[in-house]
Subunit: 264 residues, 2 copies
């Protein structure tokens, strides 16, 4: 980040702006609509207002930066510094009233995610990371985050959003990993990566992610000592098929099975 | 409840006692062990200490009452008033760090659940019900709870702990319901019933529940205007196969499909 000095506090300003837009709509019935004509892809007024609030703050403070957002697309996506915003990651949890969604804020420098935050506004938790560190603020007070040790898949707690979201070319490889783990948990999106970063779980496997779904989480998991790649072991920064682990041993074991999945 | 005058505040005392025993162990790695020799049935020191704390309070205040608990079995289960205690419902969420587990406290009078509470100690939420009312305390302040309207399964948000927990005789009937709903969410135990009571979701379907898994939740859902029965439409108070809905329309539609499941 040699070209600009970015205060970490700016992430909290963005999260505060998102919280102010989102929280009046959480557990409120009036604002759910359907983004897609077919199927169920919920998005709320909260989502759009929160992204607008964050884009405004970024544009005021960093007019040369690019922005990629879930709701309003890309501005200057080829800039040296680009923000990746997902105002409500886990919209299904959001519309069900569950406190496991979050606002994702990522900053990439020359396409590498360097700083990131997940903010859960109902619990008052923020999970952030970058530059080889990861830190937490929440009801238990602030703390540094570190992934936990886990000797093998047989000891691992695994998260995925849903076992039914994988493409047919991916299901077999995913199941091969799940069958070896101690426990698999469903229904969690960004919160899952934060549990790995904070040392409460070991593995997240997903597919079909967009850049804004993952860019803000990579620095959190990596800053806490974890590993995030795609299923071939390459960069996860662009999204796609993602495997995030608390340590390299578990990541290697999962990757060995996941790499067998053919391309869709 | 003609034979005793029970202050609702006593539920809060029990929940406070459970919280004091549990919270030092939440997101702490040291206290997870395995209850069952085979398989994965986690239970923590927190679980046992919390049930002990609640049993002590009940025995001091209501020495003639019975107690049924997850950890320490039954005392006077045939008493007129019996408490059903599950200190940590959702142990898998608990050991994964997710804030969707809860302490369940139910009071049955002549085998009918009359008062109940679910307390989530990390978010500071309490969902309680009885006598035709249901009430909430939490970060957003106290409020009465009421289920929401939902015209049909096609509009319903459904919860179940896992689509893979059903017996082979049950899977087909469960899937028939799930396929008709708008959205199915996994990985949520007691918190799911509270989301139905609070009007954020419409339906919970589970099987294999124990009495202590459900007794504390029935008064919450029913007090908010919902319906809780087994898959044949009979009493849910003893556990087993459970269907809880925010209103009778959705409950009837689910029941019509679930009642086809053969006995195991």
């Amino acid at each position: 980040l040699e070209n600009f000095d970015l205060p970490v506090g700016f992430f909290d300003r963005l999260a505060d702006g998102a919280a102010a837009a989102i929280m009046p709509h959480f557990r409120s019935l009036s604002s759910v609509d359907n983004k897609a004509a077919s199927g169920f892809d919920p998005v709320t007024v909260a989502d759009r207002d929160a992204e607008t609030a964050m884009r405004t703050l970024i544009t005021e403070s960093y007019p040369n930066h690019g922005i990629i957002g879930e709701e309003f697309g890309s501005d200057r996506p080829d800039a040296e510094a680009v923000w990746a915003l997902d105002p409500i990651d886990g919209t299904r949890a959001f519309i069900s009233g569950l406190p496991v969604w979050g606002t994702l804020i990522g900053l990439t420098h020359r396409s590498i995610p360097v700083l990131g935050m997940m903010a859960q506004h109902f619990t008052g938790e923020r999970f952030a990371g970058g530059n080889g560190h990861a830190w937490y603020t929440g009801p238990g007070g602030p703390s540094d985050m570190a992934t936990r040790s886990c000797a093998s898949l047989a000891d691992a707690v695994l998260f995925t959003t849903s076992p039914f979201l994988f493409h047919q070319t991916e299901v077999e490889a995913y199941r091969a990993v799940e069958q070896q783990t101690k426990l698999a948990r469903y229904g969690v999106d960004c919160y899952a990566y934060c549990m790995v970063a904070a040392g409460h779980a070991d593995l997240v496997i997903e597919s079909g992610l967009k850049q804004h779904d993952i860019a803000g989480l990579i620095p959190v998991v990596e800053g806490a000592g974890g590993v995030v790649t795609d299923w071939q072991g390459g960069s996860a920064a662009g999204g796609g098929r993602i495997v995030a682990a608390g340590n390299r041993q578990v990541h290697d074991q999962a990757l060995e099975l996941l790499a067998k999945a053919p391309e869709a």
